[in-house]
């Protein structure tokens, strides 16, 4: 069991966002977090990373150290003065990784995320999809055990979205880490999430994704039937 939430109570600007008893996130799983805007999806990520603190209750981590948690933010915030390869090297430099290892890891990520041709470009010269790929690759440089992603594909076109989604699934399989992905896109939630977490009535509700792992899901009727069912559930709340 990776993360255990116990009796969490969180109030933001006099609105109670969370009042839940117990909830747990398993290891090596992709979770997608869905729910209406303003319900507290991003706040939950802040609570998990410790940026915000619950008014009462606990968040307990098992097998995960705080330094192994990483967030990829909603609007990728790459430093404008760094090139793509420098941006990928930054987390490694901060964590005192040797130069040789930095070079090999950066080269590996540039290749995996098809960024080799942009290695020496700065963020202003990249498209939205390329920026997002860099942000995700940067988040993966340190091989985090828990990766939190806040709307990783918002404002991207469908092709770039699908590319990023496939990258995320592949990387999770390779690394066996846990990903918690906030999204407002139901199709994305259904495609990425092994388990979908519905934020509702100040609580979290788990929905197991029966279509996860199926081949060519984007062409499958079952997948779209599940999306419709999921959309209904989100709207009902």
């Amino acid at each position: 069991m990776g993360i255990i939430i116990k009796d969490l109570n969180f109030i933001y600007e006099q609105n109670q966002l969370f009042k839940m008893t117990n909830f747990h996130f398993e290891d090596n799983t992709i979770y997608t977090l869905v729910g209406p805007s303003g319900i507290g999806k991003s706040t939950l990520l802040d609570l998990l990373t410790g940026v915000k603190h619950p008014h009462s209750g606990d968040i307990l981590y098992q097998n995960i150290h705080k330094s192994e948690i990483l967030t990829i933010f909603q609007n990728n915030h790459l430093f404008p003065w760094l090139t793509v390869s420098e941006a990928l090297a930054l987390p490694l430099k901060i964590n005192n990784v040797s130069k040789k290892q930095i070079n090999s890891r950066v080269m590996g990520l540039l290749k995996t995320f098809r960024l080799e041709t942009f290695a020496h470009k700065r963020p202003h010269a990249l498209s939205g999809g390329q920026l997002q790929r860099v942000a995700i690759a940067q988040g993966l440089t340190l091989n985090p055990k828990l990766l939190l992603l806040d709307e990783p594909t918002s404002s991207l076109d469908q092709e770039s979205k699908e590319e990023i989604q496939d990258h995320l699934i592949n990387e999770q399989r390779k690394r066996n880490n846990t990903m918690i992905i906030v999204t407002h896109d139901i199709e994305e939630a259904a495609y990425l999430g092994q388990e979908i977490i519905l934020v509702t009535n100040k609580q979290l509700k788990k929905i197991v994704n029966p279509t996860f792992g199926e081949k060519n899901r984007r062409q499958s009727l079952d997948f779209y039937a599940f999306c419709i069912q999921l959309r209904k559930q989100v709207r009902q709340k």
Binding site: T71, H77, F79, W81, L82, K93, I94
Partner: protein
């Protein structure tokens, strides 16, 4: 590198030609011996080239030393004020009081305390530049988006790493902008400072030529100050381009 050399050359030619153009126009319009023709002045410059070089070198060394010292002290202080708002609230009122003061007025006091030599002149330039850079660095550091700070915390960075990888690169344009402004003020103040207790420096050369009513020599000195300003500005532009390459 070839491209930047060409750009420097174009910029230099354009600057010199427009400077000479305005000068020639003034020479024709004024028809007064106080404004000599550019040709006479250039001839004079060639004639006293070694002396001019010596005066220019003396002025350059004073300016460069003051710029370097002011940057070395101002950057950490500006970052410190931005990182510790309590100290900023305590020190900023003093900075705002000192900033508009005409520092050249303190030259006699500086000479009294620190002697007639180079030290008091460099200190004067230092006092003019440092406040500008401190305020610029502090404001630049305060304007760094919170999200950037969140990214650094995300990677578990410590304070030194925040300064090294976030604050310094983010405020670098602010440092250069404040140095650009400072160079103009420092050159103007240097002219004043070099009028006292020195025999080397463009300020001294211009004033002594004026006293001798040797206007071509005076204009040769003025032209050298303009050249010096141009070279300093180009050096800062080159530093900016270089920083974007590394």
């Amino acid at each position: 590198m070839k491209k930047s050399s060409a750009s420097f050359f174009h910029s230099f030619i354009l600057g010199v030609l427009s400077y000479l153009g305005i000068w020639t126009l003034l020479f024709i319009l004024s028809n007064n011996h106080a404004i000599p023709s550019p040709i006479t002045t250039l001839e004079k410059m060639w004639e006293i080239k070694y002396l001019l070089g010596l005066h220019t070198l003396a002025s350059s060394l004073r300016i460069v030393t003051a710029l370097l010292l002011a940057t070395i002290f101002a950057v950490p202080l500006g970052i410190f004020l931005s990182m510790f708002p309590k100290f900023d609230r305590l020190l900023s009122p003093l900075l705002y009081f000192l900033y508009p003061l005409p520092k050249v007025a303190f030259l006699p006091v500086l000479m009294l305390f620190f002697g007639l030599g180079n030290f008091s002149k460099i200190l004067l330039l230092f006092s003019i530049i440092i406040l500008q850079v401190i305020i610029s660095v502090r404001d630049g550091a305060n304007r760094i988006p919170d999200n950037y700070q969140r990214i650094m915390s995300n990677f578990q960075s410590n304070t030194w790493q925040n300064i090294r990888y976030l604050i310094l690169p983010a405020i670098f344009p602010n440092i250069l902008a404040s140095l650009r402004v400072s160079i103009g003020i420092a050159l103007a103040s240097l002219f004043f400072a070099e009028n006292y207790a020195t025999t080397y420096g463009l300020g001294y050369l211009i004033l002594s030529a004026w006293m001798k009513m040797d206007y071509p020599e005076m204009f040769a000195g003025i032209f050298c100050i303009a050249l010096l300003g141009f070279l300093f500005f180009q050096a800062i532009d080159a530093l900016e381009r270089f920083s974007y390459k590394i």
